[in-house]
Symmetry: C2
Subunit: 582 residues, 2 copies
């Protein structure tokens, strides 16, 4: 039988198919998703669960005249496959390849760019209002996972949409999971008949629950929604990982995101690298701290797996809190824990901490509460791309009074760093990157808590240049300095408070190269420049870090080299600086 | 009859009163609140509405063993009066005086420091969990206004609290208003019988609605809540501004916040200064822009009054959106509006924009949508104090790619600046301070859109020092420079993109004093230092701005002088810099 998918280049082709062919189309989509993710990895689980939903959407609504906004968009691989990107899907999440989420610059059928959850309802309502103001027609549909109902932004949007008279269509793709199991009262509510009351109370017409893998009922429900003259929610029940036994059987995440695999004779073959990550090293340090001190508790916004906290949750079920996709609450909840005398550690990705910027300032730092922020995925994140880069934690938080900012070079730095943070009477932040741990280097002495100030990794006898670094880039700097003469390396270790004496000593040689994995607009480098200006020093300084553009998806190691943050890049930059200084 | 209030020094004194005396206590509290606000101004309306509620709370719960967390705390003047601060209440909101909101450092009975709404439920849940972990006893009560139910953080907290088994007590002080009228579906829901279903759906036991000004029923309801072994909400119906006719009659805000007044012969006498504010000037510029271009719309998170948008809302009812206390939604909603082709202006205070940091980055700037942020209260805010200072907008947003950051010196700069932003194909931000407009100075040529780059306010013939400034501080710099010889003044106007040629020209004289009303850690000054480093320039630079501490409440003009940002301070700093440079 001829495959249908190669003949589908746009939603109109989906609408042109005889209805009887649609189940076969869904089957092909599933095969393709499983095959692509097997080759290149990706967000398998959610996408497998949304296949029929997406086919039904493209039958009932006419994209792009009708705008379909997928919350996050990691559920939308079927949408990518149906909108002209099938042949390029093998490049998914790779440099120059198909985007990890959705992007209007990639396809006119992608109405929303989003890698963070909970934005679709608000953006869709705005789009509908914008069309009204401009006198334009067309439906606007927000496709939202049930996990997004734990996030406040979704509620702000629902409150405003439900209070308006515009016919916003919200499709609730209810697979009963966030990334891992859902938490809180609302997901539980969705399992009951009160779901109808709940959405009607919010001002929506409620259609459902609908069997989300049955095309007929799904299309009927969406047609009903399309005909509505007021806000309407379609509640579709789906199964994450549907149709791929290894995902269906994984009760923890239903195959949320998977690296490449082979699927042979009913068996999943994965190439586990087995190298330990920074997340795992931090989790191990946390485990020790929790064993030592019963006051230590951990809070994560839906990132138990990503932050390597699954084991801790099993060991300390009542001291590890997954609060759902609710970054603001995660931080303010920590403030309450700390105010009561507990020692909360908030494990959060750099990009998601942006969601709680005000809570860090207003709820934690202003009252000077001893919350420890464990900021994972700080710096380049690789395949997840522009939405997830950890570029702004240092520049945005450095100015917040009393917040100590630290970064480890190697995994061995983490235990004393965490202990230092937990001993402090005020708030602290420890940032570390995505990825595997570098080996411990003899030059590195992790030290014991309480840590203080910077650390010389290499001191030249007749120094000509000082590399001032933060985090694991210190190892690249060390390799660069060893290959040159008269180069010293200072691991700043703290961005706040700065180690003024060490940094002034570094300035004495006349040339300072500051290296960090974060924006150079306001980060460590700027802090160093401020210090030198305040002390009337004027060495030649060059800042290296992340650029003044959004870094797209790609291989972080390659991107690091492109940004000149690898050993060769640092040598080049150092030589240039020395040359310019002559 | 002897007054009761002078004998009340702590909640125990309230509990010791015969129940029959409580109405008289409430009457005295109201008189005191009206009298204090008349003398020094303050958050009158909400505090008058919560008098009985607060007396009932202190009868039923035993603070501080039981923790009472007031959301925002502007409703809690009665609480201040009952907890030992009565004699100092005349110093409210003034330098060194009683705090504008609540603060644990001011009283052990203030369990939560908060000037931003929506934090109480999350913090209270954290506190209750913390006590559980540490084996401590005591009830935890969150007192939340209905306005906070439009904010996502409250929902994140309710979802987690309702899903837990801890006996959190939430008291919903429902006065049917945010700062102005509530918006959206949820406030409407609270007016119906479905309120019970709604909170029960969220996992709470529901007690109410209770007549919030009837002490007997209020105490009975709170006792019922105190006895609960699971999460419980007490829904109290109150009247904002209760007992003060001018507030009761003000249907817009019920006397939310008022400056000093006299209350004579049943008449309110207020000293209106009548001077035009930056907010009003921006609103006027917006009015013109909306008249010119039907695509221009305005979005505010519950700040119609504060942002001087009431008149615009009346003129353009369907193009001015008050979305409630929902900063994240306000920004993402703007993203949707812009994506549809409208030209949204998001009017928001600097301190509240912190709530939407991620939405600015991820929803607006990453897709390069033409949203204009009109950032009011940037810099020192005076009486509202530490929670409301606009210190971090520049330092946190300067690093975001493609976001233009601008600031006017005088009100006349606003129309061309707004026009420039509205003509741009990408996102822009215009920041301006709280306060009245300075007079137009001949040296200032506002120019016509599109504006570009910096503007020399004064160019010395033989320059020895350049003052690089942002915003109205440029006028102080101008006055300082006129009193000295060889001092130039460059109004940076843009923080991003920087005007490199002008700033390099400024550097040529060898001494640069950068002056801004924002943190000096990562703001304009750092941007200037980065530029000089990248170009190998090393003039002597000094940065002046807001300090590395949280600035408390006080008179902004006095604080500006204390920070050395007045004319004398700038002269002093400039001379010091010249002296150090010799």
């Amino acid at each position: 039988m001829t495959r249908l998918l190669p003949g589908i280049h746009a939603p109109a082709d989906v609408r042109a198919l005889p209805e009887a062919e649609l189940p076969r189309l869904c089957e092909e989509l599933r095969e393709e998703i499983i095959s692509v993710c097997g080759r290149v990895g990706g967000h398998l689980g959610a996408s497998l669960g949304a296949v029929e939903l997406i086919v039904a959407l493209h039958r009932v609504f006419h994209s792009p005249q009708d705008a379909i906004l997928f919350d996050v968009g990691h559920q939308a691989y079927a949408h990518k496959l149906l909108t002209g990107r099938r042949e390029r899907m093998g490049t998914l999440r790779q440099a120059g390849g198909v985007a990890p989420f959705l992007d209007p610059r990639e396809s006119p059928h992608d109405a929303l760019l989003a890698g963070h959850a909970c934005t679709a309802v608000s953006a869709a309502l705005g789009m509908l209002e914008g069309r009204r103001v401009l006198g334009q027609k067309g439906h606007v549909v927000a496709v939202v996972g049930d996990g997004a109902l734990t996030g406040g932004l979704t509620f702000e949007g629902l409150n405003n949409a439900g209070g308006s008279t515009l016919p916003l269509v919200v499709v609730l793709n209810d697979n009963q999971m966030s990334i891992s199991a859902n938490v809180g009262a609302i997901p539980a509510l969705l399992r009951t008949r009160e779901a109808r009351d709940f959405f009607e109370g919010l001002g929506f017409t409620y259609v459902g629950p609908v069997a989300g893998h049955e095309l007929g009922p799904m299309m009927a429900a969406l047609r009903e929604a399309r005909a509505s003259s007021r806000p309407v929610v379609v509640h579709a029940m789906t199964q994450k990982g549907r149709g791929f036994p290894p995902a269906e059987e994984d009760t923890q995440t239903r195959g949320h995101a998977m690296g490449p695999y082979e699927w042979r004779d009913g068996k999943l073959v994965r190439s586990r690298k087995g190298q330990r990550t920074f997340s795992e090293a931090f989790s191990a340090a946390l485990d020790e701290a929790m064993a030592r001190d019963p006051r230590v508790v951990v809070v994560t916004p839906a990132m138990l797996e990503g932050s390597a906290l699954v084991g801790l949750k099993l060991r300390y079920p009542s001291r590890v809190y997954d609060v759902g996709i609710a970054e603001q609450h995660a931080v303010t909840f920590c403030a309450g824990l700390a105010a009561a005398g507990a020692r909360p550690v908030c494990a959060i990705y750099s990009t998601f901490l942006q969601r709680a910027f005000d809570q860090v300032i207003h709820d934690v730092c202003l009252p000077r509460l001893p919350v420890v922020f464990a900021v994972d995925r700080a710096g380049l994140v690789g395949a997840d791309g522009a939405t997830h880069q950890g570029a702004y934690d240092l520049s945005s938080l450095r100015a917040v009074p009393g917040l100590a900012l630290m970064a480890p070079v190697v995994g061995e730095d983490l235990p004393p760093m965490l202990a230092t943070a937990l001993q402090s009477s005020g708030p602290s932040l420890i940032r570390f990157p995505r990825g595997t741990l570098p080996p411990l280097t003899p030059e590195l002495h992790p030290g014991v808590a309480p840590l203080q100030g910077a650390r010389w990794l290499l001191k030249a006898e007749s120094p000509r240049l000082a590399l001032v670094t933060l985090g694991p880039l210190g190892l690249n700097a060390l390799a660069a300095a060893r290959a040159e003469t008269g180069w010293s390396v200072l691991d700043a270790r703290y961005v706040s408070p700065l180690d003024a004496p060490a940094l002034l000593e570094a300035a004495a040689c006349g040339h300072v190269l500051v290296v960090e994995e974060g924006t150079t607009h306001g980060g460590l480098g700027s802090a160093v420049l401020e210090l030198y200006a305040a002390n009337g020093r004027s060495p030649r300084v060059r800042l290296l870090g992340m650029p003044d553009t959004f870094v797209p998806h790609g291989d972080a190691r390659v991107q690091r080299a492109e940004l000149g943050l690898d050993v060769e890049g640092l040598r080049r930059a150092g030589r240039e600086l020395l040359g310019a200084g002559r």
